[in-house]
Amino acid sequence: MQRPADNFLPLAPATLHILLSLAGEKMYGYAIMQEVARQSEGRFKLGPGTLYDNLQRLMKQGLVEETSSDDDNPRRRYYRLTGLGRGVFNAEIDRLRGVVDQAQAHLKSLRPRRA
């Protein structure tokens, strides 16, 4: 049975990293960029153009929403996952987990046996 979240899969790497950053707490744009860099240990750097292009699309799809904050900086807007967004993120993780399991099983079957 296909879930609604399955319609959004697979996620692009940038989208996955954004959803992963927002999975814990609400964040503003620059913090998301920092978090993505931290998650990937500096290998994946998200530029503002790419970040906000994704946020624009994710908000239109209903996966991310803007939320209020107590931040004094008026330029900062905070974003968080919606219920749908969290479902999509979990679904993507499940899919990736399945991919990893499949890959590990496949690699195990290809491992050369000692004579």
Binding site: Y28, G29, Y30, M33, K45, G47, P48, G49, T50, L51, Y52, D53, L55, Q56, K60, N73, R75, R76, R77
Partner: protein
């Protein structure tokens, strides 16, 4: 500079995207550090720009205008710039204006005042000596410089040839001033080379024609024409005997004043030149030069003068540079050309010019 470039990049994004994320993107740019990071963000901005315009058309919604609304003013972007942006823009415009004003002020190798009154950047813009303003009209109209007068070269030659004028015009400015008129007897007596107390035509500047070989008595008509056709000599030789006697020399100031057609106390070249057009022009200038500036302002002609229509037509034709002001030179040329045309027509019709 790089920040300015990044702001321009943001401005080039679609309005909806820019309004929604522009500030946040700029904050991310401001928080970035290092040259490589800056270059990366610029490249990211360019990529975002092309992506927004090419791939994200679904996010751009045209603004709906009610059919009943009368459009009086419409702008492409309803975005209102922030206050800091307006302040920076105003400051930049002011700096640009100051730069232009300074460049104009210091151009040409010497400082000059601007028409708007700013001489140099400071609080004391204009130095005014108010005593200079007392008793003077608020607006003064200056005539063109004499050097621009088309008749001046001719007048200079004429003053050199006619010994009487050369003697009278002591300062060589081609104008017989009131002081020079008053000193006329003494100046004229210097021309009396044979000390007989009177001035002959030769002493006044007459030269026989170059090809004349006849007896001297045949020169008498030429001498008479010389004394008669030159206005100054004709005025001084009041008895028209071909010589300027001692009495006429003594009476020369009064005789010269008869040539002062514009009654300014001086004799300009136009009042002493032999061409009738010159004296005609001097008379018109003296009659209609209400500002006493030596030129006639066509729009300022009196409307109650009985000859005003013909004078206006004459002046409009004479105003060759179409500046609304008629100088003596322009008027003389126009009158002389009309006189020549009159003579030509008379010759063609077989009548006496």
């Amino acid at each position: 500079m790089v920040r300015w470039l990044y702001i321009r990049l943001l401005w080039a994004h679609p309005a909806e995207f820019r309004r929604r994320f522009g500030d946040e993107m700029l904050e991310a740019f401001d928080l970035s550090a290092g040259f490589r990071e800056t270059v990366r963000l610029l490249a990211d901005g360019l990529l975002s720009l092309s992506r927004q315009w090419i791939l994200r058309s679904e996010f751009r919604q045209p603004a709906a205008t009610p059919a009943y609304e009368l459009i009086t003013f419409q702008q492409i972007e309803p975005y209102k710039p922030r206050g800091i942006a307006l302040t920076e823009g105003g400051l930049a415009a002011m700096l640009l204006l100051i730069g232009i004003v300074n460049a104009i002020n210091h151009g040409g190798g010497h400082a000059r005042s601007l028409p708007i009154g700013m001489q140099r950047f400071g609080l004391g813009l204009i130095k005014i000596n108010r005593s200079d303003l007392e008793g003077k009209p608020a607006v003064a109209v200056e005539a063109a410089k004499d050097e621009d007068d088309p008749m001046r070269p001719f007048a200079r030659s004429y003053f050199r040839i006619l010994h009487v004028l050369a003697a009278l015009d002591a300062d060589g400015d081609l104008t017989i001033s009131a002081a020079e008129i008053a000193n006329a007897p003494a100046a004229l007596r210097q021309l009396d080379r044979n000390h007989d107390g009177k001035l002959s035509a030769e002493e006044c500047g007459f030269l026989p024609p170059g090809d004349f070989t006849g007896p001297p008595r045949l020169l008498a008509p030429h001498r008479g024409a010389f004394m008669r056709d030159n206005p100054v000599l004709a005025a001084l030789d009041t008895d028209h005997d071909g010589e300027i006697s001692a009495a006429e020399i003594a009476n020369s100031p009064a005789a010269l004043m008869a040539l002062d057609l514009d009654h300014d106390g001086n004799l300009s070249p136009y009042e002493v030149l032999p061409h009738p057009a010159a004296s005609h022009a001097a008379g018109i200038i003296g009659r209609f030069d209400v500002s006493d500036s030596g030129v006639i302002f066509i729009e300022g002609l009196p409307k109650d003068d009985p000859d005003i229509d013909s004078i206006r037509r004459l002046l409009i034709a004479a105003d060759r540079n179409r500046d609304g002001l008629v100088t003596r030179g322009e008027l003389v040329i126009e009158l002389a050309s009309r006189a020549d045309m009159h003579r030509l027509r008379a010759l063609e019709n077989g009548t006496k010019p």
